[in-house]
């Protein structure tokens, strides 16, 4: 069982990053995908948890989506 934990959101972001790794600009692709499909509350929750555990492209994407992310 899982809930909307930061760990699950980080897992989702990393999964997106791994699947967009071959894009010309992976971080931009991840950010665009998350902006298109995620509710802002999910982005905010991930941002509150910080970038720990995020893959590089997901981390960069998070910083572009939520510049104040920890």
């Amino acid at each position: 069982m899982s809930s909307h934990t930061p760990e699950k959101l980080a897992y989702m972001a990393n999964q997106i990053a791994r699947n967009l790794a071959e894009q010309a600009d992976p971080a931009a692709a991840v950010a665009s995908h998350i902006r298109t499909f995620w509710n802002p509350a999910m982005i905010a929750a991930l941002a509150r948890a910080g970038a720990t555990g995020l893959e590089p492209a997901a981390e960069q994407a998070l910083r572009s989506l939520a510049p104040d992310a920890g």
Binding site: M1, S2, S3, H4, T5, K8, M12, Q15, I16, R18, N19, A21, E22, Q23, H33, T36, F37, W38, N39, P40, A41, M42
Partner: protein
């Protein structure tokens, strides 16, 4: 309208322009070459007597009743097998013909029980009708000699009887099974006088044979030999209404044949453009759930889920529900509310639910059951082609030369389309099957796959990339198509990617488990075998790389030029009747109708102008996100129309926890389904027989659903949603679903030309329907892709995180079976349970033997998520290391075992890959026991004592 059977022109239509002119009884008619004299006569307004001919089957020429005389031609040729010729002069009624026909008919009748007055086919019997037509007044032969009378009736099939005493051995049933259904279960056993229709071996009855109960034989039978039990029980229909089936995404249309308010039978409509007069066991026969005693017809509420239900009036139920929703919004904020639309409901109903969420709840927290099936199709095809839909109509398969089926089991999931596919295969098209299981298509009578790639579950992307590797590196790509139709830079990048050695079939074989030589041969066949058409299902989408797989399929089609004309394309086989429509109607949390993102201010302005409210510009929560938010305490109320997420969605414990954490769960359904165990409000739903509206099938075909009988619960579903909206203060005043469709058309460019009036006039329309395509679009992307240039997307294979290991060494994949549908809420309440009374676990003999398991044994199926028990079926249909089950029965709760891993792009659950262990078991799991107790408690209903 009064009851009339559909017109039967005797033999199938010939394709082509009408260029041959002939005279029939002095009347001139012009028809296409290849038309039979019998059909031409019918088109000219005449009717030549016949028994073995019907226009759904090729001419057979056996009954000798349809004889005619033709000037300049010797003898009396059979009109069914004689093609028309220019200048031909045909005489259908002469003294000579009359004598011949009476003689033939006399012989038929001499071996037929003369019980017309008490026969269930009285008044609807072709033998009776034709005896009258030929003027038979007397039968000279008595019944003293040998006859076929008095034979026992085979009543083994739950839906129809076989009475051989009434059989005239016309072979229509056998030919229907062969030509229409393609199962070849029936035969004529014996010769001469001993000839008789037989299902399978002489020792078989219909139920025990290979008959799939599609009913084609019943429909073809000219007498009462094969007839619905319902006709025997109720009587001859007196009127009919054409409507659309509410089972799978094929979208068959039927004549619902009625007597009063009672449905007598469903007869496939020959003019239906999706099914052309065919059906399956579900659509034709499994409609008994509509009157099942389990239907709940009164609204019910309760304060908490541990209390019994209390029946209340509609007024009280709707006022209570609206008050609860307002309370929760006031206390927790507007984002604490959401809704789920249903792929089983109409476009109009679905549109209203998402409108209620957006205009009434003031957020975009709306999702649909497509989340758990074809959401990756929407993402993948929109990304590559620009449209979230399949590219072809079903008729397209008749021009396919190579059919590639991946992750789909059409003979079980989409049986009517499978029959058409099998017919094309019998005509010579080649078949490639990519599936972990040896599905029936791989080898069945008169059909065999040229290549079966039994891949390891979870490796679709690797297999498709390996096929692309072969096509590109062997120079098989269609460079002209790519240059003209696709983005050149993206193709070059993709071609470089797939050409890498690490994507070769040989390199990937240890991952995929597929023989590299077989894979190479399959890739070559698809690329060079003529028109290549890909059909896929949930075995593609329900993976952690579901969206990538859809895009990999699109890549293959573009690379080989198999897009933009009949016979080719990318064709998602939709699971439920209105999956396509539910997606079209703006059911996703990021899109308004027509797949337009909520962040588009121009689109929002359109809706805001029509609805008079502001639309949230941010995406809402998907179903799994809603459940996550519920367990976090931020999501508190949900309106679920026609969807049973507790049984259908993955990781049942998580779904249960999410629902249990909410303060107001509203279930709007036919039955107290499993989700209703956690509900606070139950709003009775109406069946497809009780409502008006439209469904959109897998080929984007919009078809009318017509009310056949009044709703037993008093309201069509759209009316209930409207009343709930009004209780919340919204000023909705739709008088009929046609007004909702008019609003959809005003707001949705692809539906701009759709209206109920046009659907009435044209039968059906395939979107887009607009100024550019006023009569719809059977085949898409003909001159260019909707997005402009076709987009090749690099699809890196990323293995699922669900891994086998010592504790869970087997891979579970799930699916469906022919006789059952989805969570079984409908089909379990019909006689279809005779074919599938429980979910079983298919396990390979080697894996079974290692565990001491035999067929029929109870086994425990355990994963990292949970465990359940069910009985085993030992079979080599599954590969070693793979087990398979269905999810039709709540007692099994197969989704207790599935995980919450999901597609990276859409969160579509990974139903198809779960690491499991299987062991002998003595009884139900702790979860099953607990759930059984909960289920009984949760379904208690308190009724006020009568005054």
């Amino acid at each position: 309208m009064g009851y009339e059977p559909q017109a039967d022109l005797g033999t199938p239509a010939a394709i082509g322009a009408a260029t041959v002119t002939l005279a029939i009884d002095g009347r001139s008619i012009t028809v296409p070459p290849g038309t039979s004299v019998m059909r031409a006569a019918a088109l000219a307004g005449g009717s030549i007597p016949r028994l073995c001919a019907t226009d759904s089957l090729e001419a057979f020429g056996s009954c000798r009743l349809c004889l005619v005389e033709i000037d300049g031609m010797r003898g009396t040729p059979a009109s069914c097998t004689t093609p028309v010729a220019e200048g031909m002069a045909v005489h259908t009624q002469t003294p000579r013909l009359q004598t011949l026909r009476r003689g033939v008919m006399e012989l038929y009748i001499s071996d037929h029980p003369l019980d017309c007055l008490t026969c269930s086919a009285n008044g609807d019997c072709e033998l009776q009708e034709q005896a009258a037509a030929v003027g038979l007044r007397d039968v000279r032969y008595g019944f003293d000699g040998a006859s076929h009378l008095g034979q026992p009736v085979d009543g083994s099939n739950p839906y129809f009887d076989f009475d051989p005493s009434k059989c005239i051995a016309c072979s229509r049933c056998v030919r229907a099974c062969d030509e229409v259904q393609g199962t070849l279960a029936l035969t004529i056993q014996g010769r001469g006088f001993a000839s008789k229709v037989s299902a399978g071996l002489a020792s078989d009855d219909f139920l025990g044979s290979e008959c799939v109960s599609c009913g084609a034989c019943v429909q073809a039978c000219p007498t009462a030999t094969l007839q619905e039990k319902s006709v025997k029980e109720i009587g001859k229909p007196e009127r009919s209404v054409v409507t659309t089936c509410a089972y799978c995404g094929v979208g068959c249309t039927f004549r619902a044949e009625m007597r009063g308010e009672q449905l007598v039978r469903m007869v496939p409509w020959k003019d239906g453009k999706a099914n052309h007069g065919h059906s399956c066991v579900k659509g034709r026969f499994a409609w008994g759930y509509a009157q099942h005693q389990d239907r709940v017809l009164s609204p019910m509420i309760r304060e908490s889920i541990d209390q019994p239900w209390r029946e209340v009036s509609w007024e009280e139920a709707l006022a209570h529900t609206a008050a609860e929703l307002k309370r929760i919004a006031a206390r927790y904020g507007r984002m604490a509310l959401g809704g789920i639309t249903s792929s089983r409901c109409t476009n109009e109903e679905t549109f209203l639910v998402q409108k209620l969420v957006r205009a009434g709840f003031h957020n975009n927290n709306v999702d649909t059951c497509a989340r758990v099936c074809h959401s990756p199709t929407g993402y993948g095809l929109k990304t590559t082609f620009g449209t979230s839909a399949g590219t072809q109509d079903f008729d397209s398969v008749e021009q396919a030369d190579v059919i590639l089926v991946i992750g789909a089991n059409p003979t079980d999931g989409h049986p009517v389309f499978a029959s058409r596919m099998k017919r094309r295969l019998r005509q010579g098209a080649k078949l490639i099957v990519i599936d972990p299981r040896r599905i029936d298509l791989v080898r069945s009578p008169h059909n065999a796959a040229t290549h079966h790639l039994p891949l390891r579950p979870g490796t679709n992307v690797a297999v498709l990339t390996a096929m692309a590797h072969v096509i590109v590196t062997e120079g098989l790509a269609d460079q002209a198509f790519i240059r003209e139709r696709c983005d050149a830079d993206e193709y070059a990048h993709w071609a470089d990617f797939v050409s890498e050695t690490r994507h070769s079939p040989e390199f990937l074989a240890p991952v995929t488990g597929v023989d590299p030589a077989e894979l190479r041969a399959a890739a070559r066949l698809y690329a060079t075998g003529g028109n290549g058409a890909i059909y896929y299902g949930l075995g593609v989408t329900e993976h952690s790389q579901g969206s990538s797989t859809v895009m990999a399929i699109a890549n293959l089609a573009m690379a080989t030029g198999n897009i933009g004309r009949p016979g080719v394309g990318v064709n998602p086989l939709r699971g439920q009747n209105n999956v396509q429509g539910a997606c079209d109607m703006g059911s996703f949390p990021h899109e308004l109708s027509g797949y337009r993102h909520v962040s588009d201010a121009g689109v929002r302005a359109l809706f805001e102008g029509e609805w008079g409210v502001a639309i949230d510009p941010e995406p809402g929560l998907r179903i799994p996100n809603m459940l996550d938010a519920a367990t976090d305490g931020t999501f508190k109320a949900i309106y679920i129309q026609g969807e049973d997420i507790l049984q259908s969605d993955p990781d049942t414990r998580h779904v249960a926890a999410g629902l249990a954490a909410m303060e107001c769960v509203i279930v709007h359904d036919l039955f107290l389904n499993e989700t209703a165990n956690y509900a606070h409000v139950f709003l009775p739903g109406s069946t497809f027989l009780e409502k008006n509206g439209t469904f959109t099938n897998a080929e984007r075909r919009i078809q009318l659903v017509r009310k056949v009988m009044e709703p037993l619960n008093g309201y069509e579903d759209w009316q209930v949603t409207q009343e709930l909206a009004r209780a919340m203060g919204l000023d909705w005043n739709y008088a009929h679903p046609r007004e909702i469709m008019d609003e959809i058309a005003r707001l949705t460019p692809t539906f701009a030309g759709v209206s109920h009036a046009r659907l009435e006039a044209e039968g059906s329309l395939q979107w887009p329907v607009n100024d550019a395509a006023p009569h719809g679009t059977p085949v898409m992307h003909i001159d260019g892709f909707v997005r402009g240039k076709g987009k090749f997307v690099v699809t890196e294979y990323v293995p699922t995180d669900e891994r086998t290991g010592p504790r869970f060494p087997l891979l579970l994949t799930t699916g469906r079976i022919l006789s059952q549908y989805n969570v079984g809420a409908q089909t379990r309440r019909t006689a279809n349970v005779v074919w599938h009374e429980e979910d079983r676990l298919e396990i390979h003999p080697a894996d079974a033997e290692n565990r001491g398991i035999s067929s029929g044994d109870w086994v425990k199926l355990a994963s990292r998520s949970g465990e359940t028990t069910l009985r085993a079926l030992v079979t080599d249909r599954v590969a070693p290391g793979v087990v398979y089950t269905t999810f039709h029965h709540p007692e099994t709760q197969a989704n207790v075992v599935t995980t919450d891993y999901s597609d990276w792009a859409t969160n579509c659950p990974e139903y198809k890959v779960t690491a499991v262990q299987v062991a002998p078991s003595n009884g139900p799991s702790a979860w099953q026991q607990d759930y059984d107790a909960l289920s009984h408690r949760a379904r208690r209903i308190t009724r006020e004592p009568a005054e």
